[in-house]
Symmetry: C2
Subunit: 548 residues, 2 copies
Amino acid sequence: MIDYQTDPSRYRHWRIEPDGDIAYLIMDVNQAGGLGDYELKLNSYDLGVDIELNDAVQRLRFEHPEVRCVVMKSGKDNVFCAGANIRMLGKSTYQQKVNFCKFTNETRLAIEDASENSKQIYVCAINGNAAGGGYELALAADHIMLVDDRRSAVALPETPLLAVLPGTGGLTRVTDKRKVRRDRADVFCSTEEGVRGSKAVDWRLVDEVVPNSKWKNTVTARAHEIAARSDRPKDAKGIQLTPLARTIEGDRVSYSHVDVELERERGLATLTVRGPSDNAPASVAAAHALGAKFWPLTVARELEDAILHLRTNEQTIGVVLLRTDGNAQGVLAHDDFLAKANGDWLMREIRHYLKRVLKRVDVTPKSFIALIEPGSCFAGTLAELAFAADRSLMLIGAREGDNRKPAAITLGQTNFGFYPMGNGLTRLQTRFLGAPEQVDTLKTKIGEPIEGEEAAELGLVTMAYEDFDWNDELRVMLEERLSFSPDAMTGMEANLRFAGPETMETKIFGRLTAWQNWIFQRPNAIGEQGALKLYGSGVSPTFNKERV
Amino acid sequence: MIDYQTDPSRYRHWRIEPDGDIAYLIMDVNQAGGLGDYELKLNSYDLGVDIELNDAVQRLRFEHPEVRCVVMKSGKDNVFCAGANIRMLGKSTYQQKVNFCKFTNETRLAIEDASENSKQIYVCAINGNAAGGGYELALAADHIMLVDDRRSAVALPETPLLAVLPGTGGLTRVTDKRKVRRDRADVFCSTEEGVRGSKAVDWRLVDEVVPNSKWKNTVTARAHEIAARSDRPKDAKGIQLTPLARTIEGDRVSYSHVDVELERERGLATLTVRGPSDNAPASVAAAHALGAKFWPLTVARELEDAILHLRTNEQTIGVVLLRTDGNAQGVLAHDDFLAKANGDWLMREIRHYLKRVLKRVDVTPKSFIALIEPGSCFAGTLAELAFAADRSLMLIGAREGDNRKPAAITLGQTNFGFYPMGNGLTRLQTRFLGAPEQVDTLKTKIGEPIEGEEAAELGLVTMAYEDFDWNDELRVMLEERLSFSPDAMTGMEANLRFAGPETMETKIFGRLTAWQNWIFQRPNAIGEQGALKLYGSGVSPTFNKERV
């Protein structure tokens, strides 16, 4: 089992070294610390290295409010990072490669989200070669510095060396973030040795090159300049991201507010999120005191872990039923609290974290079906789960013998801007792309419980059924969905979930990832004579020359 | 060999029936007229059917200026079109499937381009079931009418039936053109039988449903209403798209102004476009009199055929060298003529046709390298070839013993708006995404021959070499490029060529096509137990249930 939970005391590959309003995030990969049977030479990485990076980025935001600039650098001499480990890629199954790239992409986007939205701004100080995924990591930073020592270069040698793409954002960030001229990008991405010195600046590949003699001082000076642009508080105290309360046993994964039940034979999972048991805190200070026990943060962490677990460790699960359980008013009270305290750094972090977790749902290759039944609390933040789902089913009225109130969706202000998708729109805006005025109508319903028939009429749910139809309709839908080709479902969902504008982020997950997934199946890369298989063997690959 | 040239006298599957300012474009597929060993039942189609459709769309624009509305309908009772022929897909090689889908996509976009830019507006009158590619064809129309006979439906059953995607624009047009709500799109795309009647209107899948009794009259009435919106001239006379002057023999394809030389062993082709031999016509009437012999139109047709030929019939060609030969002033004079006469319907057609041909270059899976040497005429419209190329090499100064003027690029007004790419930007805007002010600087150079060093400085070419370096640099570059994995090149180019905004069109070629190409390789679709292989056999497919 791959576990996405870790903490700095267990890191094998990274160090966080805070220094006032700056922190150094130092990559120093333990060669023998890979998840599989390969050596992580030259700061090359595997999923385990990236899990630590993801954890570090997260903790810097929550545990270090005082850090305004993060400087990523290498703890090794003469090499920054050699990218994804090639033996690891060569030995991985197809599913592992795809899952690894997706998580790595999400981590890079989390770095960009920290710079942009938490004002914890990333600088990458490239002290040695940054090749492949190493340069792709640097591309996530706001400011890229390269030492000018006549050796150190940035490079994307995946295509010439391995017959795969710089697929964890590389090609897209080169053209759309760094805005490198397309023909130079073509030259750069097909040159093994990469580009160094002032040419790297001229070509927009890095922001500055610095002579070796001035390197350390310039990096520090730049970090302080950039820190000065941040609006993070000076004297705040961080909160601890304490270990998750998680139990994994047999066909069940349980957390304090999230449960996953698995029916592996059917390929079905049921994921239940529970609303808050406590009232919203009385003050911002009280929320800080709750720390990781503050319900919105708890739910974000548990839901994230559950989604990553399902993706990685339960690959034959094709459909995930999304349920909620609890009190809608409690959810909305917490939402209101988050919104009102939005000037507070911690509340801001939590809001953006929830946004990122919901985005993980959007790019998870499982069919999500939300079930909205009596006792559920699809309100505000949790209603986003229903809008993130591929379909939603809602019960009209009550069930016989159940005297709880009929199921309802309750919209909150969080549904109108807190959690934009990768395309830059809210889930409701994306949903009503063909009827944008509907979003305005729905705004007038904030706070009102909307029951089954009205929800269907307003377009908030896919279908609404009465109790006597519910079981049959659900059973037939699930049987059908589970009988379809998993690949066709993934391809269909990857297209239908992102209507409207495309952004660098959706391009990475849509265009670039799709082409990389394609190449990861092509014999020219992964066949016995393919470049990825033969790398390092001294034997040249043999390519089928047909162009497709 | 697949030949993209045809004309109405040779059509087996379509009829054009002009009726004043309306034309009926009638699909009546000859069951026995497929390109391979399968029967084209129920108006299902293969590449041959689509080649005729492409030709018909083209001829309607050029040969029928009086037609303001085109009504696509079926010539068969009770079926509109059953989509791409499944036996054909099952028997096709991977390369054939991908090439077929690309061309089909281009034809659909040409229909949309006719509605938008030629004001020859397409209506689709669905008189019978429109399934899969049949409905995807309808989606290209501006207005979709569906007969309400309690039987006829629109459907995208690819995913449930065949484990592939509605990949020729279907998924993207449903969400981004028709703006169908994503959960409804999910239901629609996983329902074999599709949607009919008023629900099809409610779900935005069609624009109107019409009872059987009123069908014919309503279709005619709607066509006349739509024709009234067009700005096409009332009394103009069309020109004839006469057969191309083409010779294909051995390693050479020759046209009047385009040549292709093939070095199949190396995987290399050289495509040369010749500038005009005559002056620009003295008047619009004179240009009309030239008809298909008017140089810009000749070049568009010959270049298009050469590109399609290379794609389809020369798949092991990986690199195409782009050359031009002739007088830059002649090219610019023709460009100016086109620009000045832009109010004329025919000049408008030619301009948009050149735009579409250049877009075909953008999505062609070959590496394009422009060679800009003395004697060349990379000016205006032909300079777009250099900007469409992945790289361009320019000679500085003259060659020993060659007393022609040094190579130059000459910009014209056509480079600043005539030929937008799929992303909505010009090639120069896309090229200078990181330095948009450069486009303004370049505008001041219109008409000036820009020689090698200056062109490199202005960012117009990738590299400029003097004569004594030229041969070595070119040889090394080609050896390298031709040694790379063809798949990695295709994936890289598909990402690097489209910086900046994404549109429905780039989403179709980027996101949707990439996922479809992926699925076309997955055993769940094309394996011995896959859905595409087993369709019609009565045996259910066996899927690997892992979700990727």
